[in-house]
Symmetry: C2
Subunit: 796 residues, 2 copies
């Protein structure tokens, strides 16, 4: 027989545990529990038991109505994320377009009189905008620097970097990227928009920001990390959908690039969010068409319509397209490598010196960018306008203050244009539009394109990693479309007969560079199709992406993976490493396991928590005859909560009786839930008197009674798959079992939904059966067993 | 101490096992092992051990070269699948278009003289085509009936239905669908194309068809089910890409609808296959433009270009669009329910009577369809042609023998057309093109559309489930676009001012019906966008799909799920059932576990295999002092192979010495691999002499030494997630462990690839460590342990 208090312990755990999986969502969530412990010095949390328990309690109170409410809120939140991200994107775009438009209009009007004055004004405006951006980031929201995609990817993989999803990060990201993009740096606003969407989603998921008193109780429905992660996934998709007006691309981006655990149920909700974003953006743009948004409306959201471009392509063109793919792979891999080196150097030398250095650095980059973008076109001789084709609707030079090709900049004659200024002295969106434009053959000279490519590539590398919000999409498109157009020029000259547009090659170049750098495939392809509104080029984009990704993969990893590794975000990849095949589960366990008994002395808990950094502790109870039994997993964070509140301390070293019923109500489950945006308690924060230290805690009600287990000599690849696929955080390595009680096959899991009543009956009998079996098995264990020469037939 | 032969047993298992995970792909494959046992009366197979061993052997011979070869072959196969499926699609399309074109041309030329003669010829041609189709299916390839998508879905979920992926099924599917679609039945060729792609992929995966001597040794690289499943996934995507010329849609279809275990690495390969299909189809169509493909080229592949349709939409239109969504949900759910009833009735009554009944049934359906499609337009009065608009390029009536709107059929005057004949007396592709067409407002009367809707809906329901290859995509689009256009007509009449095209509403109707019936979301949306070549309608299609799916879900499951259930394909859904929350792992184990000892008597094996239908048996060995230890899982199929070959029989009941080295070479691993297209051995096929029955087999070299385990009282939802996520087939339910040897966290799994040498060293020391630990632990187990009041600190 088991000793009484072990029996009680199991009963208690079973009691709590049997109540756990009551909410529709609760039981599934353990796969998604977040690992906050590793790599970034933050705390670890496992909400499993307590949170499920919370669900159970809440649900028993509210019943089916609550489940319905829960589903409605989920969809309502998806709607809110869509609207919020859409509005944020519209706001950022209107601001950027107005700042940039006003800047260029002012500069153009001044340079009619003096180029020197115009230059000074131009540099000054850029400097102020960049300064505001870097100031916001360094002094208010340090986590808003960069694109944020590696961090979000890490979050969805299970690593929480402190501060990434705060309200202040959201604000910093929005205003910072207005400054940095409006200030003309070689970076984009698309990556930051993905981060913005994720922030909005995360803040909604925790019911607002507690620090800024913006939280609301009725919004705090989502207490599980899985739900929050689902929302953040929606937010990412919304960000891409808003950035590129590419709803399908957004869904695919979330699926391919950022999430680690994709569930098919989620796809529909993500899709809904993207659709909402598309509607919001479309509505806002319709409203802006009337001219109420200032400069926005004429330039506006990035959509480079190529639908009137090249209709057809011939087989001869496949070779130059393949060459574009190879160039993209090479330049993309080089970009990843250079940015990696520079970021590494920045992190270890420059940025250690404090915020002042960061600000100076950003201002320097701004000055260099302004000098180059203003100065280089000045050195360039103007070209005469081509004979105008009244059908194309393209004027040369473009009318002042408008957007378009053929910019007249420092030209002596009226009918001339400066091809370098057309791409350099312009907003990036307009430059790309000009590069993509059809019916403008030989607008650019090879010399200008090459100059621009070299200068802009260098600027993009240098700008990457400064302390401002910075996306790499638009710079990547700029770089790619430049060499794409360059190749296109040669193709036009070489195959004179074919109807070839240089703009098409520019598009393929853009795709190839992004493919070579970010290594996205399907999502990038769909995004390119959606932003150019031309489905006919799809197979060509696919071809170019295949080549550029393959070439890039030969050199290094994708941009986000490299950056994540540099930032110390330990991403668990979807496939195990090669050498894991030769290792066993036990060999992988790095540290000594520290186990806790069921009823533990407070002083012992404190010394254990102080003595090591483990986040999970097996809880072991024992029978009267000395046999031990693992009854569950206790988390550091939960122990800390217990130590802090002290209400569960008891004087007796014996387990408390679960049937008294007082135990589970002492703690409200929400005490165990860590808000996403704070660091949680640490052992140093807890102060206990010497009386407290002499008391005991019964851990049974608070542990996770059935963590996943693996036998000690299982291959590590198998263990990895289990860990990664289920998104676990702790896995017990146990000895080989001595017997098999049952075998679960597919058939056993095919239960029809309408057996509800039968199951309930089964449940009530099974508790008795379980007890019987347990005592029987222990009895068997005590007795001498004969040597088994024949067959071992064991009942269930 | 463990007894010697147990020690040996574990050593042997460990010996084999330690060699297993050597190929890059091998170790991951156990997630994907196929469950052939349940539901459909076929056999079960677990390739794990033996196959991994095969990899190991082969790889040790060939080394790194082999891995490179393996990767190249994988991509080469993706290329071949793309080319094969593309060519199959082109062949089917050319054949169908030529048969149908010739049929309509002949009929039209005859009805200029006599409608009766024309009618007879029309009916006769249809009958012959349908007869050929149903004859092929019933007498040659019974598995080719229907769309095949539920079966493929089942295969990818882990259920193998015999015959679905055979070479004869492929042939039957291609020629059968030419007959059934060319014969004018209310069904499509798109579902069958998905099946065709899957067949091509599967045949490639097993290196050709062994039965028809089309196999090639060098192609037989893919011995694991995971690789084959990946290929079939590629095939499905290729099928959709070929059917709709929608490469992105194909990838998403494979992802959303058919696969159960998606890996992000697979996406890129699937994408590549789809791109190849797009190129093949495009090339073929370019070649056909010159007129070398007969009637094909003018009609051709389904692409209903709407890019010159409605540009914009206003908020007032959202209401009628929502109504379309609701109608689609209702009609789609009704369609699923009706086809379910009819299929059920067919299966249990009609089709039991044999092939003759199936043939008569198909012919009857063909006759009815011909009568309705020819007869109904006859009853309809012709309408006068609208005033022609030279800009639109649409003639009225259309020139004879051409494809287009405004069919002159049984009209008294020249300048008249028959609107019912325009949609009814036409190939489905052309009918849809006419329904989608813009700039043809009021071409159809409400009466005609309503008549067509009712008749075609009934025909589609009746045709579904006849013994011919049949897809539901095109009939669904027909039905949906009819009521969509009907709603569009009212909208045009109601909002007179807006620039509204009825064709846009027809498209939305089509999307809504497919959404209401098949419940696909993202993939359907992308497919609709790709086939209409109009990205601007994306948000509208999303809206309509959201509504129709939600409405449909209120009534029943999707078409494929309902059909899969009817066909007895036990799909494991991605989320566990509600009542699993209240059950434990042990309660779910249905049958008594039958364990085997390590060295088992042949007679006992035979009696066990005869006595039950289990597919997996735990193998248990014991120590000298009576303790038992589970050493692995033995599969029925492997036991059968052992019994059949007899080479591993031994006289001694003691384990053979693994160090003699003779054991592993007696069997070539390929003996254990079941070809995908045969049924495998059954116990009835094996005949053993009485001498044989008295011998023994040592199972140690053949078992899977570390299957996944769960503790007995784990919640069934957790067990389900483990089982489903890793695609398992057998799961051991074991008692709670007595101690924890280690704890695996994220940190332990973050191993860098460059630690190769260190790992190898670790491996060699760990074997010794493992032995030490094992003997130590058993010693501890024998000794009396004191009551543990303090802390249990256990070393790794």
């Amino acid at each position: 027989m088991l000793s009484n208090h072990l029996q009680n312990g199991i009963e208690t755990a079973k009691l709590v545990w049997s109540r756990l999986p009551n909410s529709e969502e609760a039981e599934q969530e353990d796969p998604g529990l977040l690992q906050r412990s590793d790599g970034s010095g933050t705390e670890s949390l496992d909400y499993e038991v307590v949170e499920n328990y919370a669900y159970w309690e809440e649900q028993e109170q509210r019943g089916k109505l609550y489940v319905g409410y829960y589903v409605v809120v989920k969809w309502f939140f998806a709607l809110l994320i869509g609207i919020g991200t859409g509005l944020a994107a519209v706001f950022i775009n209107i601001s950027v377009e107005n700042f940039a438009g006003w800047k260029f209009a002012l500069t153009f009007s001044i340079i009619q009189k003096s180029y020197v004055a115009g230059f000074i004004v131009y540099v000054f405006i850029n400097l102020v905008l960049v300064l505001s951006s870097v100031y916001i980031v360094t002094h208010f929201a340090p986590a808003a620097a960069g694109s944020g995609i590696p961090e979000i990817k890490g979050y969805l993989n299970g690593v929480d970097i402190h501060g990434v999803l705060l309200f202040r990060t959201l604000i910093g990201k929005i205003f910072g990227s207005i400054g940095s993009v409006g200030g003309g740096l070689a970076l984009g606003k698309e990556g930051p928009l993905v981060h913005t969407g994720a922030c909005i989603a995360s803040l909604l998921g925790q019911g607002g920001s507690t620090k800024y008193h913006l939280s609301s109780r009725w919004l705090q429905v989502f207490k599980s990390d899985r739900d929050r992660r689902d929302l953040v996934t929606c937010g990412c998709a919304a960000g891409v959908a808003a950035a590129f007006r590419a709803p399908v691309g957004g869904v695919l981006f979330a699926l391919e690039e950022v999430t680690s655990w994709w569930r098919s149920q989620l796809m529909w909700r993500v899709f809904f969010t993207s659709a909402i974003v598309a509607v919001v953006v479309r509505t806002a743009m319709g409203w802006c068409k009337s001219g109420s948004c200032g400069h926005f409306g004429s330039g506006g959201f990035i959509i480079w319509d190529l639908s009137d471009g090249q209709e057809d392509y011939s087989f001869e063109e496949l070779l130059p397209m393949a060459i574009i793919g190879v160039i993209g792979g090479l330049l993309g891999a080089l970009f990843n490598q250079l940015t990696l080196y520079i970021s590494y150097w920045r992190r270890n030398h420059l940025h250690k010196k404090g915020n002042r250095v960061k600000i100076i650095e950003a201002c320097l980059v701004s000055l260099i960018t302004s000098f180059i973008s203003f100065g280089l076109p000045l050195l360039r001789k103007c070209s005469p306008c081509p004979e105008s084709d009244p059908d194309s609707g393209i004027e040369c030079p473009r009318p002042p203050g408008m957007y378009g090709n053929y910019v007249n900049f420092y030209c002596s004659k009226d009918k001339e244009y400066n091809d370098l200024a057309t791409i350099f002295f312009n907003t990036q969106d307009d430059a790309i539009r000009n590069l993509f434009s059809a019916k403008t053959i030989h607008e650019y000279s090879a010399q200008s394109l090459l100059t621009f490519l070299v200068m802009f590539y260098s600027l993009a590398v240098v700008t990457f990693g400064t302390a401002v919000p910075a996306g790499q999409f638009v710079p990547g498109i700029m770089i790619g479309s430049t060499y794409g157009r360059l190749v296109g020029m040669f193709v036009v000259n070489f195959y004179k007969k074919l109807k070839i547009e240089e703009g098409t090659y520019a598009l393929l170049g853009a795709a190839s560079f992004l493919g070579g750098s970010m290594r996205m495939t399907v999502s990038l392809c769909v995004i390119m199709v959606e932003i150019t509104n031309n489905l006919k080029l799809l197979p060509l984009i696919m071809l170019v992406l295949l080549i550029s990704k393959a070439v890039g993969d030969a050199f290094n990893e994708g941009l986000y993976e490299e950056q994540a590794r540099l930032k110390g975000i330990p991403l668990l990849e979807s496939r195990p490493k090669n050498q894991m095949r030769k290792m066993t589960a036990k060999e992988a366990c790095g540290q000594r396991v520290v186990s806790l008994p069921r009823v533990v002395k407070v002083a012992d808990v404190v010394s254990i928590l102080r003595g090591n950094g483990h986040n999970g502790f097996p809880v072991i109870d024992h029978t009267r005859n000395g046999e031990t039994l693992v009854i569950g997993l206790m988390l550091r964070s939960h122990l800390l909560v217990l130590l802090q509140s002290k209400v569960d301390f008891q004087h007796s070293p014996l387990p408390s009786d679960p049937r008294s019923g007082s135990r589970p109500t002492r703690h409200t489950p929400s005490e165990f839930i860590k808000p996403a945006s704070s660091k949680g308690i640490s052992i140093g924060d807890i102060h206990l008197s010497s009386d407290d230290l002499e008391m005991y805690i019964d851990l049974a009600p608070f542990l996770n009674p059935s963590p996943y287990i693996v036998p000690e000599d299982m291959s590590l690849t198998k263990v990895y798959n289990l860990f990664r696929q289920l998104g676990l955080r702790h896995l017990f390595v146990v000895p080989r079992p001595s017997r098999v009680l049952g075998l679960i096959t597919r058939r056993d899991l095919l239960i029809e939904d309408n057996e509800e009543s039968a199951t309930v009956e089964l449940q009530s009998t099974s508790v008795r059966a379980w007890r019987r079996d347990r005592s029987a098995s222990t009895r068997n264990g005590d007795a001498e067993r004969p040597l088994l020469n024949g067959l071992l037939v064991q009942g269930p």
